[in-house]
């Protein structure tokens, strides 16, 4: 073993160590608030605002979790959020795949304006839309239904999801599709049978984005849902706080920690595909 290669190995190890250190510090800062949330969720009211902050409470209040689960409408809120988020994800996948494929594969009149329009639409301030959309939902008799939220969230999600999928489809070579068309498949069949299976990472990225958007949204969930049975998690957690009363932050944080779990599960399970799916067509352009 030459001296040079030994030194190189040492240097590589040192650099790797630095990378680990840097990543650890960065990750620690990024997850610190979440850790504080978890810590608070296990505390009683008199341990939450101490001058010397305490990570581990003296009295572990696991009952904060059982309380919100059994004594409030939390399970209902959770189910509602799940239904709305999953349905939004499903519809976003379908619509964005179709539209993304369309922009990616065809050069048609209006392609440029449509693509640009997708960017512009994302700029709309939500507040501008609240009352008009309420009126629309009311006229369609969709107030206080899952569908009102699914439609609204889907619409907010489509622009970015379409873009993402367009970018991903751009990275898939067209030869495969050409072969299928020659064999007599319709364009829809080509999309469904040939392209989609190859686009798994892109689909995962879209699903993730749509899910997180639907899961966390507040203003429209608050406005379109009217009764306890239909409220979603974000609204439900806000309802656990109020004016003129002592909020039990331990319970609120317990609810919030639980609310983060589906997203976390999603990441861990589909982590493999997530990064890839966000290429946004970097390669081709």
């Amino acid at each position: 073993m030459s001296v040079a290669s030994v030194l190189k190995k040492r240097r590589d190890a040192f650099l790797k160590g630095l990378v680990y250190l840097a990543l650890s510090i960065i990750c620690l800062i990024l997850i610190l608030p979440f850790l504080w949330m978890v810590s608070t969720s296990l505390k009683s009211p008199d341990e939450i605002f101490l001058e010397i902050p305490r990570w581990l409470p003296e009295v572990l209040r696991v009952d904060n979790y059982t309380f919100i689960w059994t004594d409030t409408s939390y399970p209902k809120y959770l189910v509602n959020s799940l239904i709305v988020a999953m349905a939004t994800t499903a519809i976003a996948l379908v619509v964005a795949s179709l539209a993304g494929y369309g922009i990616s594969r065809f050069a048609f009149r209006g392609r440029r304006p449509f693509s640009l329009g997708l960017i512009v639409v994302q700029m709309f301030p939500a507040m501008l839309l609240v009352i008009p959309m309420f009126v629309i939902m009311r006229r369609l008799n969709l107030l206080n239904t899952y569908l009102s939220l699914i439609i609204a969230y889907g619409t907010f999600a489509f622009p970015f999801c379409t873009w993402m999928l367009k970018g991903y489809f751009d990275t898939i070579p067209e030869e495969l599709e050409e072969a299928a068309i020659i064999e007599g498949c319709s364009r829809f069949q080509v999309l469904y049978k040939v392209v989609m299976p190859l686009a798994a990472p892109g689909l995962v990225a879209v699903a993730l984005f749509a899910f997180v958007l639907a899961w966390q949204e507040y203003l429209f969930a608050l406005t379109f849902t009217r009764t306890e049975e239909m409220r979603t998690l974000t609204v439900g957690i806000a309802l656990m706080q109020g004016q003129h009363g002592g909020v039990n932050w331990g319970q609120v944080m317990a609810g919030s920690v639980l609310a983060c779990i589906p997203g976390l599960v999603f990441f861990l399970y589909l982590e493999r595909y997530i990064v890839q799916g966000f290429t946004l067509g970097a390669i081709k352009e």
Partner: protein, 291 residues
């Protein structure tokens, strides 16, 4: 036969984009149009009179409104600072995550956590972290001898805007990181190998290979996060409500006050239209560089 076949062929793309276009058109464009039109009237929900067309009066009033200029200034600082730090920081973290180290999947999952936390809850937690008496930040900084006494970070005009900007960066950096990481990973390794053989150093490779190849994707994500950042509302609303004074009054916060606290719908629509206009100007510059 040939004509119908051609029509069918030409119309195919429209079928593909139809669901998307129809839904966006019916759900988003109609309210938007109504909103923009409203800025030319004088609707104030608290004063129930028939709406009167007032032309550009609201826009003139907006131009003369000191709160508008304050909010605009704050919003520009907010957007620019967050953009720069998120892109630079995101690129840095992405570069780190792109290294071949064990456990990088673990780090990649941890990085995404701020994205999963609902904005409102994140804001409340950060408010506690910044609290003067019992906040983690003061506790840590004091023990590290970086500050000599506890500070009320959100109560001092010179600290409060940076403080909330940090929170917005915290929330937005995961997304930027992931996209940039995807961009980095799509760069063929062969390019780096060839450069190494030619004797290029790490910094040169970064400058000559990495940056140019992520340029496109970086521009796209920069455009998107600029828009989302400019419109971002919940963090500041929950942490400071635009205060103290007008230190953190941003455009969306001002819009909220006008729309949903004082119900001056037309004037609020004027502000929203101005916001939209500003963003379109911003987007124009990006798109020109992209195309």
């Amino acid at each position: 036969m040939k004509v119908t076949h051609r029509i069918k062929k030409l119309s195919i793309p429209y079928f593909f984009i139809a669901p998307c276009a129809l839904l966006i058109g019916s759900i988003l464009l109609y309210p938007l149009a109504r909103g923009i039109v409203s800025s030319f009237y004088n609707v104030n929900l608290l004063i129930p009179v028939p709406p009167k067309f007032v032309g550009l009066e609201n826009f003139i009033r907006l131009f003369r409104d000191s709160s508008f200029w304050t909010a605009l200034t704050n919003s520009i600082i907010w957007t620019v600072v967050i953009l720069i730090v998120q892109m630079a920081g995101g690129l840095g973290v992405a570069l780190l995550l792109n290294q071949k180290i064990k456990g990088r999947r673990f780090f990649r999952s941890l990085i995404l956590i701020p994205w999963v936390i609902p904005a409102a809850i994140g804001a409340i937690t950060w408010r506690w972290i910044y609290a003067e008496q019992y906040g983690l930040l003061n506790f840590i900084l004091y023990r590290l001898h970086i500050i000599d006494h506890y500070k009320a970070w959100l109560a001092e005009p010179s600290f409060v805007l940076p403080a909330v900007i940090v929170v917005a960066i915290w929330k937005g950096i995961p997304f930027v990181t992931i996209v940039l990481l995807a961009g980095l990973q799509s760069i063929p390794q062969t390019l780096y190998e060839a450069a190494r053989i030619d004797g290029a150093g790490a910094f040169q490779m970064l400058l000559r290979i990495t940056l140019p190849l992520v340029r496109n994707i970086a521009l796209i994500v920069a455009l998107l996060t600029s828009i989302w950042t400019f419109n971002h509302f919940e963090t500041v609303q929950i942490m400071t409500r635009g205060g103290p004074g007008t230190a953190t009054l941003l455009m969306p916060i001002y819009a909220y006050k006008l729309f949903l606290e004082s119900f001056q719908i037309s004037y609020a629509s004027t502000l929203a239209t101005a916001m939209l206009g500003l963003m379109m100007v911003l987007a124009y510059f990006y798109v020109r560089r992209l195309m």
